[in-house]
């Protein structure tokens, strides 16, 4: 009898932990020794998921330069704005498209003028070696191709709809994912033949996906915007970070990751 209740207790406590909801990933670079007597309270930056790797690197460089540590919270741009509306504390917001930054401004989360710090274009992600010989958007519309795209409601989905309309191609995807990470994941796991992702996501796949560029992508760039959060009291620090992101060293890091200049 006692063993049964112990098992039940263990199972219950495990289920409680298993039911934890998904939350945006956060990265905390270990802070260096405090220098120059500045506040070592990390600057909180909310940024789009596609900026995860590149902003973490920029954050480490920024800390080395300015002695100010940063703490990132990465997630879907719309999610982040919703959190900020709900009162989550943050100092800087970086979104993957203009529409979401506009929503943030409409909601009063951002009052200052945002700065464009990078642009991104779409590309086709395929398995290494491009086994199906995909060379254009039209190839994706061939019968039997398993194509995965972002849903219309997210930034990369809206851009996908625009470029396919420009190219006069009608896709019949097998899945419309909520995030570009999921699209890439379906390609790298071999479930899908191809997917439409951001240029920068190919680098993040670390060799498990290849890119196939198409001409229509250049006409529909997505602007990445950064702005200080209105409710933050650390206006100088926030502006310092924003200035750093638009400075040549950070722009170099962004360029290396595949982002294009604003």
């Amino acid at each position: 009898m006692r063993r049964k209740s112990l098992v039940l207790l263990v199972a219950l406590s495990l289920s409680v932990t298993a039911c934890a909801s998904q939350s945006p990933t956060s990265a905390e670079p270990t802070p260096a020794e405090p220098t120059r007597g500045q506040s070592t309270e990390p600057l909180t930056v909310f940024a789009a998921a596609s900026l995860a790797d590149v902003l973490t690197t920029i954050g480490i460089n920024f800390q080395r330069e300015a002695g100010l540590p940063t703490s990132f919270s990465f997630g879907g741009s719309a999610d982040l704005v919703a959190q900020l509306q709900g009162g989550a504390p943050a100092d800087v917001l970086a979104t993957a498209d203009e529409a979401t930054m506009n929503k943030a401004r409409d909601a009063g989360v951002v009052t200052a003028e945002p700065t464009v710090f990078a642009t991104n274009t779409l590309t086709i992600a395929v398995a290494p070696g491009n086994p199906h010989g995909i060379a254009s958007l039209a190839d994706l519309a061939q019968p039997g191709r398993l194509v995965v795209i972002c849903a219309m409601q997210v930034p990369c989905g809206a851009t996908t709809a625009s470029v396919t309309k420009d190219a006069g191609v009608t896709l019949t995807p097998v899945s419309e994912e909520n995030s570009v990470t999921d699209v890439l994941g379906k390609v790298t796991s071999g479930e899908a033949d191809a997917g439409l992702v951001w240029s920068t996501d190919i680098g993040r796949a670390q060799g498990r996906a290849e890119r196939v560029d198409f001409p229509e992508a250049d006409k529909r760039t997505s602007n990445y915007l950064i702005a200080p959060v209105a409710s933050s009291t650390r206006t100088d620090d926030a502006q310092g970070f924003i200035d750093y992101v638009t400075s040549p060293p950070a722009q170099q890091v962004l360029g290396d990751a595949g982002f294009r200049k604003p």
Binding site: A11, S15, A18, A82, Q153, S175, D182
Partner: protein
């Protein structure tokens, strides 16, 4: 999980009071569960609710959810009852291991379940060569949704039925067998009717769990309107652009779940 009340539970036990100190934590528990639902209902845009719910995407998601959950519950019954019987009524070695395996989906995060299903039934999965032989593709189909739902809901049915089987009166079955009934007859005409309350309770839980399944579906089946985008997936998507629509659909899901549970989970009076 709860075991079914033994037949003949006395009413006198129910009339014994409970200690007064249990009321504060009980009320706290009730508020903790009820208040978020009340808050959600308060947030709903009641004027636009009919329009939001009647949108083609919403109806497609609801229809898909109900259809797949119903199929999943039937599959759970067909596979789960025999499994519960093996666990409760046989003496095969390794029952403890089997029980642990069956209960594993309860503690696994659903996304992990989805990944595991992908590794099994996916294009590059364990069974991929067998599936290719029959020309079957499971990923991105409604079948994948059903598989994901069965995976996460089966434990509820098995647990509930096994519990009921363990505590059921064996007397009737012994008499039936003694009178010459075949095991199959004993099972369908004596055993199962005896454990029906636990069985139904397990089936209702399985249905409700299937209705709310999200992580495994998203990872394994993908998200396409009318094919794999169940109501939870639709809510998750609508959050990106239309929080009002997401709230309305959330309310719909809650109402459907409440109806299902209320209609089938009525407490039985002691005989």
């Amino acid at each position: 999980m709860t075991s079914s009340r033994a037949v003949g539970a006395t009413g006198s036990a129910a009339r014994l009071g409970v200690p007064a100190w249990i009321w504060p934590p009980a009320l706290l528990g009730a508020f903790f569960v009820g208040l978020p639902l009340v808050a959600l209902a308060a947030r709903v845009d009641w004027i636009n609710l009919p329009a939001l719910l009647a949108a083609p995407d919403s109806l497609a998601a609801l229809e898909l959810s109900l259809r797949t959950s119903a199929i999943s519950t039937v599959v759970c019954l067909l596979l789960g009852i025999p499994l519960a019987l093996v666990l409760a009524r046989t003496r095969i070695p390794g029952r403890a291991v089997l029980r642990t395996l069956v209960l594993l989906p309860l503690v696994l995060p659903p996304v992990v379940g989805g990944l595991a299903l992908l590794q099994t039934f996916g294009r590059l999965g364990l069974l991929s060569s067998a599936l290719d032989l029959f020309g079957l593709r499971i990923a991105f189909t409604t079948t994948a949704v059903v598989l994901a739902q069965v995976f996460v809901s089966m434990p509820f049915l098995v647990l509930s039925t096994e519990g009921a089987l363990r505590t059921a009166e064996r007397g009737y079955e012994t008499v039936a067998a003694g009178l010459g009934a075949a095991p199959g007859f004993v099972l369908t005409r004596v055993t199962l009717p005896l454990v029906l309350p636990g069985l139904i309770s397990g089936a209702v839980l399985a249905f409700a769990r299937s209705l709310g399944e999200f992580g495994a579906t998203l990872t394994f089946a993908g998200s396409l309107r009318g094919v794999t985008r169940t109501l939870p997936l639709e809510i998750y998507l609508q959050r990106e652009v239309d929080p009002d629509a997401a709230t309305a659909l959330s309310l719909l899901l809650i109402v459907v779940a409440v109806l299902i549970v209320a209609l089938t989970h009525r407490p039985r009076a002691a005989r």
